[in-house]
């Protein structure tokens, strides 16, 4: 009987209110709901990682008006196709800047199937201002944000010698570091040489170092060098940099070179091309000159490089201390280039040992890659004193092993890498000779605007070198005995005037005195253009003290090209890029000429 009557209990619901939602058309979804996308387009860098991870192929990267490519921003923005999206929010999880988010809006109805495509943040949508929506859980990242640490010498250990500080990654750590890369390629455009960075990082991940070397040599014959001392602009453009630490691109490059024996590298680089019978002379065996030499030799041209100093390498050898770039690393780079048959003549100065005119006469083209080897002076009172030195000169002396009196105390003027280099080199010498470090650095810029690398500044501090930033040098104090006793500085209020011209203003009340036996100026360099000879100097067009060149690196004289620091300012990888550029230009001109001949 119960079985007959019990079902009628269902009717008790008749006396309860229905549970229907009154207005389901305007019901808000849960705060965490994965609804339609939002994008903070100002924050977005267009790295395309969202596109990569989207398994639906729902995301296109498209150019957007008002967003031009710039360093670390491709200028593209994601456009999402809601005919594809599955709202898994992996794109939100993986977003490198956190700009891509989701609202909890969920209603989109349209009769037109082509309407379901939009660029979040650009095409205005009703949910743009929505507060709720899916966000990544705290600490939930699909990619690693912290850089894999690299072993390096402790400051106490390194200060007494010129051994290389960083140890380089071992294979396991390199893989881990390479694994962090999201392969967006934003770095490529930033790299002056446009190296195939994501690809060689992939080679590290795969452990295929020979492929890595081949990729490196496609764009840069100075990978041992650049792997250590490159200015690595790429790392500032790195997508990971936005929420974490940039990939150690430079160290990974070095890691590749460290893994492959030199013979193998030479084998990978290959042989020079079939001889064309054309001859090229290059003045200056720095990165720019040698890169041009490398390319031209690969193309089969006969290349001779003239170098004033005892060894090839230019500023990388004479400007960068050994603890940053050991000479054998540089030698390996040079070795590959000479293995292509490039003839490097050291201790040969143009204008002294060989005349410019002879070079012109004997070659089809000449490249000037003479670098910046003259230190600039502050020209403050006392700067003519003998104990006031130029940083570049000192560094050269150190490299060549020339003896000089290492001062017990020194002050360096300048906030660039050269200033750090000389300060730290001096510190090492002081430690070796006097047993104690006493070097001070003063610079016009305040710390955040230092031109030197962050690591350099940091390591400087670790090595016991105090840095006084925003100090304008006023006078080098010389005592009655004619000895330098120190440097007097004022605090800098501003470096540039309203129009952006260099015109420092000082707070005269804030004066400091830095006692020192020697003052070293490291405020910039200039080219030694005396070797050109008067006639050529006259003939050439100039641009603010530098040789004027066209975008291909050609000077106003048809047979003369110029490349590297002397035209573009100090930067290793830029010099490499320049070398490639002039080599390509020369090759093109040669091809034109042979066409004309036929």
């Amino acid at each position: 009987m119960r079985d007959v009557l019990s079902p009628f209990l269902a009717w008790k619901n008749l006396f309860r209110d229905p549970v229907s939602i009154r207005d389901p058309l305007n019901r808000e979804a849960a705060p965490r709901y994965r609804g339609f996308h939002k994008n903070d387009v100002e924050k977005c860098i267009g790295c395309g990682t969202c596109e990569t991870i989207c398994q639906n192929g729902a995301i296109d990267m498209v150019p957007v008006d008002g967003f031009d490519p710039k360093n670390g921003d491709s200028g593209l923005r994601p456009r999402i196709d809601y005919g594809r999206c599955c709202w898994c929010a992996l794109c939100v999880d993986v977003c490198m800047t956190g700009s891509l988010t989701m609202s909890n809006a969920y209603k989109w109805v349209d009769a037109d199937p082509d309407a379901f495509r939009f660029i979040p943040g650009v095409d205005a949508k009703s949910w743009d201002g929505s507060e709720h929506g899916y966000v990544c859980a705290e600490g939930h990242h699909l990619t690693a944000l912290e850089r894999v640490p690299m072993d390096e010498m402790e400051p106490e250990a390194r200060i007494s010698n010129f051994d290389e500080i960083v140890a380089g990654y071992d294979v396991a750590r390199a893989k881990l570091e390479a694994d962090r890369c999201v392969s967006c390629g934003l770095c490529i455009a930033t790299c002056p040489a446009h190296m195939a960075i994501p690809q060689y990082i992939e080679a590290v991940r795969d452990g295929d170092y020979e492929r890595g070397v081949a990729l490196l040599y496609e764009t840069n014959p100075f990978s041992n060098t650049c792997g250590r001392v490159c200015t690595h602009k790429c790392e500032t453009a790195c997508a990971v940099h936005n929420e974490g630490e940039a990939i150690a691109i430079r160290w990974l490059k070095r890691h590749i070179m460290d893994q492959v024996p030199q013979e193998k590298v030479r084998e990978i680089v290959g042989k020079p091309g079939p001889a064309t019978g054309r001859k090229v002379a290059i003045v200056g065996a720095g990165p720019a000159g040698l890169t041009a030499a490398f390319d031209l030799a690969k193309a089969g041209h006969a290349v001779t490089v003239y170098e004033t100093r005892h060894a090839a390498g230019g500023m990388t050898r004479y400007g960068i201390p050994e603890y940053r770039l050991p000479y054998d690393a540089l030698d390996r780079d040079v070795d590959v280039i000479t293995s292509l048959g490039v003839d490097i003549r050291c201790d040969t100065r143009i204008g002294r040992d060989v005349a410019m005119a002879d070079l012109h006469a004997a070659n089809d083209a000449v490249v000037l890659a003479i670098g910046l080897h003259l230190g600039r002076s502050t020209r403050i009172p006392g700067s003519e004193h003998a104990q006031v030195k130029k940083a570049v000169d000192l560094l050269r002396q150190i490299t060549d092993g020339e003896a000089f009196d290492v001062p017990k105390s020194a002050v360096v003027i300048g906030g660039g890498n050269v200033a750090m280099d000389i300060a730290r080199s001096l510190a090492r010498l002081q430690k070796q000779i006097h047993g104690k470090v006493d070097v001070t650095v003063t610079a016009l810029e305040d710390l955040p605007h230092f031109l030197a690398d962050r690591e350099e500044v940091k390591e400087c501090g670790e090595e016991g070198i105090p840095i006084f930033d925003a100090r304008g040098p006023q006078q080098i104090v010389i005592d009655d005995a004619g000895r330098v006793t120190g440097l007097r500085t004022w605090r800098v209020k501003s470096i540039f005037d309203d129009k952006g011209r260099f015109a420092p203003s000082y707070d005269e009340s804030d004066e400091l005195f830095h006692p020192a036996e020697m003052v070293i100026e490291a405020i910039g360099q200039a080219s030694d253009v005396s070797l050109l000879g008067e006639a050529l100097t006259e003939e050439l067009a100039w641009n603010r003290g530098r040789i004027a060149i066209d975008p291909d690196g050609r000077t106003s004289v048809p047979w003369l090209w110029s490349a590297g620091d002397c035209v573009a300012g100090p930067d290793v990888v830029h010099a490499v890029a320049d070398g490639h550029r002039v080599a390509a230009s020369i090759a093109a001109v040669f091809a034109e000429r042979s066409d004309a001949r036929e």
Partner: protein, 225 residues
């Protein structure tokens, strides 16, 4: 457009569909061609609405307020239909009901992706519905393939095969979004713009060509009332 021949059939005819001779109970033998004999092969025609504007408006209002959905859960979207018809969302309030047979339904909700096999059934079901009839594409996969964009077995653009009145984006769209979609459909119907059935009749050859291009074993009549 591809070669007409490749459209027709790339898969051999099934045995039960071949022409055959059947002996009747009275001893007479006659030939049977299943595709021709058992199904109607008439072309659909465009059926205009009433010429009297106000009558048509009234009819359209009635049509919009009485949406009978064909109970055919073609894809995963079917799962959100149940909440729609039960206490929480109670779509009956909005004049929306289920019909188990295509004859009596006038709204076909394509609930998500259509596999080729289901497309075949969906076309037949659609053709059996009476005009005016409406199609709602539910979910992103009806718009552009959705997450099955690279699948070998699902169609990507529903409007290539059936005339669609309204799309609802989502994967899945929530019941609330479905209701919003139905409200939009009602608006379109009231405005007299939901003429999918006539569109289908007008572009009949185009639709058929598209359908035949993906249904490789086309063994249906071209039109099935």
């Amino acid at each position: 457009m591809r070669d007409e021949d490749t459209l027709v059939r790339r898969v051999p005819v099934k045995d039960e569909l071949k022409k055959r001779v059947v002996k009747g109970p009275d001893g007479l033998e006659f030939e049977v061609d299943p595709i021709q004999d058992y199904y109607c092969d008439a072309r659909p025609e465009v059926r205009p609405g009433s010429y009297v504007r106000i009558v048509e408006d009234l009819f359209n209002w009635a049509r919009s307020e009485s949406l009978w959905i064909l109970g055919f859960g073609t894809g995963c979207g079917a799962i959100e239909m149940r909440p729609l018809m039960t206490p929480r969302f109670d779509a009956y309030r909005y004049g929306i009901q289920w019909r188990p047979t295509p004859r009596q339904a006038n709204l076909f909700v394509i609930s998500g992706y259509l596999s080729v096999k289901t497309l075949k059934r969906a076309i037949r079901s659609y053709e059996q519905m009476q005009s005016p009839k409406y199609v709602v594409g539910l979910g992103s996969c009806t718009i552009n393939g959705g997450m099955y964009w690279d699948s070998y077995n699902t169609i990507k653009k529903l409007d290539e095969y059936l005339p669609v009145d309204v799309y609802i984006a989502g994967c899945m769209p929530r019941p609330e979004a479905l209701l919003a979609g139905f409200e939009e459909l009602k608006r379109i119907i009231r405005a007299g713009k939901a003429e999918g059935a006539n569109l289908y009749a007008q572009n009949f050859d185009w639709y058929k060509a598209n359908q035949k291009r993906v249904i490789h074993d086309w063994d249906m009549p071209d039109y099935n009332w």
